[in-house]
Subunit: 283 residues, 2 copies
């Protein structure tokens, strides 16, 4: 594999968040940049809450700052620091990609949900007019809901143990998608075309399942965001039911081409990114 | 060659300066980090004067900020932003390495001159009691003068077309090395054990030579800082006289082990760094 070459012509994408230890982006973008001789690098910068605004602003003063990937705990707070925010990021209530426009404005967008949706579309699921349940309405769940709405689903059932998350997401969806049927407060997966686990449940051994799997029909597509293992207990239960599934890393890789385009870099396929990535294999 | 791997455990050394195009440090440090599996990376950040202080301070708030390499145009101004500055950096009047101490202080040092001196020592020149002429008393010339003084030369002849540079350097030297013979205002290389070109003369075709080469004795060691080509016109003239020479990149590579130690990283030899570096060959 070609080695990543960093020189005085390299443009920098800062990956801002804290803690940094679980950052995956550098291990996906950089091998691709190396393979394609793209003069760019993703660099993790561990950034705690109180330092975020000065670090973001100072970074974008760098003449070779190409963009920033924003992750926990700044995905929501960053919205208040930007000059322009896409509709999807507004509905998601979060933003994890920032670039500087030609006139110096900070512009934010959010493609996590688009990665999830593209993964489904690539598996042959036509989302138009469909019914979907999103469990977990924090950052990632909101991003997925925003992209499902943009993809034309007919109804969204939203559930989160922390109800203010659900209420806020429903309100943002209603504002931008007045024809969408929004149904809050139930986590019943029956009669849904798609159910999504957008909670962290499944990251730790012994976590409960995010929904009642006995009520799941075999025709329901089941999507996961947890990627600590490929087949989480949730996905294993879905497979037992005979449901088609989407693993957590599908979303991860499918979103990258959208981010590359946002940053003005040559794009590629999710599969090529996956082939090049330096991630440890999940099992 | 092993590929540079950047992940959530990688510590970052920011290379701050402007313009960035001629930066060499990333091409020397990073291949070594890759070869040794050292979880660190040198990343260029183009930084113009008005943004330097906020960028430096914000960078050092990053939890994985290991240090900064400071280059033009900030090598001098950075001194005023630091909590502790080494004697060599004080005499040099410039600093190009900053780290954060355990108690959060910004600590600066300067090893450029030490690289130059180590190169000479490795060529068998004992500097104790010797006479040296340093032409060009800006940042790099001052650093070399500071390290020559520390290495025990008996006299330093200083010359710069911009005389305030020379006066300021002479004053700083006199303060820290009261027994050193300092002689300013002459660029005569005769009767010197060592002469150094620390001006940019030689970077451009048609530049005049930095000193009157007809007055040079064959026993005089001749050192160069220009590294746009291996044998500059100055070094070519010295070779014609039969003088022992030191090329510009010797200083470059000899200084790196000192910087690695400063940043608390495993060190190595200048030769190994040179073997691994991704610099274009000079000719």
């Amino acid at each position: 594999m070609p080695s990543l070459r960093i020189d005085g012509h390299t443009q920098v994408i800062a990956h801002l968040g804290y803690p940094t230890h679980s950052f995956k982006a550098p291990l996906i973008y950089n091998p691709y940049f190396a393979a394609q001789n793209i003069p760019a690098v993703v660099v993790p910068l561990g950034c705690q809450t109180e330092h975020f605004e000065p670090m973001l602003r100072a970074f974008f003063k760098a003449t070779n700052a190409l963009g920033a990937l924003i992750t926990m705990p700044h995905k929501v707070s960053v919205l208040g620091l930007l000059d322009e925010v896409s509709v999807t990021a507004q509905v998601a209530g979060a933003c994890n990609a920032v670039k500087r426009s030609a006139d110096g404005k900070l512009v934010g967008d959010m493609f996590d949900g688009q990665g999830f949706v593209l993964g489904l579309i690539n598996k042959g699921l036509d989302l138009k007019g469909k019914r979907a349940l999103v469990i977990g309405n924090g950052g990632v769940g909101s991003a997925i809901a925003a992209s499902l709405a943009a993809a034309g689903v007919d109804s969204l059932r939203l559930f989160d143990l922390h109800t203010p998350n659900t209420q806020a997401l429903a309100q943002r969806l209603a504002q931008h998608y007045p024809d969408l049927h929004i149904d809050v407060g139930s986590d019943d997966p029956s009669d849904q075309d798609l159910v999504v686990n957008a909670t962290p449940l499944g990251m730790k051994t012994g976590d409960p399942l995010p929904m009642d799997m006995t009520r799941l029909s075999p025709h329901t597509h089941v999507g996961e965001v947890v990627m600590t293992q490929r087949i989480t207990p949730f996905l294993a239960a879905a497979l037992e039911k005979g449901c088609p599934i989407q693993v957590g890393t599908d979303m991860l890789f499918e979103m990258i081409p959208a981010y590359l385009e946002f940053f003005g870099l040559p794009s590629t396929t999710a599969q090529r990114l996956r082939d090049l990535a330096q991630l440890e294999p999940t099992h």
